[in-house]
Symmetry: none
Subunit: 250 residues, 2 copies
Amino acid sequence: MLTLEQRDRMDVVLVSPRNPLNIGAVARAMANFGFEHLAVAAAFDPHWREAKSAVGAPDLLQNAKSTEHLADAVAHCTLVAGTGTLTHRKPEQPIVSLPGLGPLIEREMARGGRAALVFGPEKHGLTRDDLSFCNVLVEIPTDPRQPSMNLGQAAAVCLYELACRPTQPSRDAGTESLAANSGQLDRLAFLIEEAMTAADYSPKIMQEANRHDLRVLLRRLGPSAHDTRRIMGLFRRILWRMARDSKHKS
Amino acid sequence: MLTLEQRDRMDVVLVSPRNPLNIGAVARAMANFGFEHLAVAAAFDPHWREAKSAVGAPDLLQNAKSTEHLADAVAHCTLVAGTGTLTHRKPEQPIVSLPGLGPLIEREMARGGRAALVFGPEKHGLTRDDLSFCNVLVEIPTDPRQPSMNLGQAAAVCLYELACRPTQPSRDAGTESLAANSGQLDRLAFLIEEAMTAADYSPKIMQEANRHDLRVLLRRLGPSAHDTRRIMGLFRRILWRMARDSKHKS
């Protein structure tokens, strides 16, 4: 059960929502359960405008952030939880059943982090690429015969779980250091990719796949902000050295 | 958490629902969480017919029972739970917060009973008269500033609570791959240290401290055996490249 202060450090992010009624329903559920921060990534502008101008739309919808890409919407977050069902895929992220999400977020909040809960488009949910920005995949334990939930209802269920369900107090949270946020991980990934390129690590055709794998790997490892700075320092040094030696060579 | 057999002894009852979309949403949430028995009391016939004829309406909507009065819809039930918020009234029934409803129904089921969960019309909820057919009033603990939930979302939250809660917070261990063992981490650390040296990353005097930090860092991150092989591949490549360029230089 997140406190109001903790809920204030949590974003709900919709990726390319199609139906203005669903956007409104998510905003309403957020208001019902005391969440304030909504962001929309890669919105379809007409639908997004329609949702915002609906009669009775709550303030948090007016104040919602709109970004072009999911990466920007979650850049400041240290724990990004994507939602979805598992019917058609074997995800690369650890799976957590919705009742287990609360403790995970509480632990992150206890060490000063910020969380995001991400919902995909109505038709197909989050893509593999979207999920590569997520630390975990949250599964609502629905009936296998009818697993797919309506967007507004899925959001209501998740937010109810986080706002209203008592959870066990977590241990030792204070001793862990703050995780790197999504933007920091992206900057680290960028440096590593530069080093890969400089070292001719793999053919150009693999670049997209490597980039994806690297994103998934960094989120799985979950380095702290401090770790991330140190690793970046090492890679900057390696890059500098490779550049210097290349110059000498030519 | 109700078993499927217990869910089969549970009715969802809508009193005079106004919006066919909401009726459909309730039916969808029921299908998502494995509930079969829907009844509508005092339906507005045109709306009810429209909901039933909607494209993609689940079977349980086709098979729903329609009664003139709530009393008939719940006549065969031993535990009738009405839903609502408490803002405007002091109910005559005992109030149970939604997280407490599951145990109540389970106890009733254990002694062979049958339960109903009753939702009122969208505008004003269950009347005092409706509630007089209920054993308890279930309250979803919403934010007092925005207590009133959308009908479809309220149903989804209640049915999630009954079908899925409580469960163990499970990080699906089976999907996580095998962690690298200590020896593998040491071999990786050795390679990274070689790269640090080749890149003149830090003065020699820091070597011991860096080695220690690296060991601690790798154990904290806990890469899998597979991750470790991939990262080693990258560092081998970087080392090879730096060695080659150094040779060119000299």
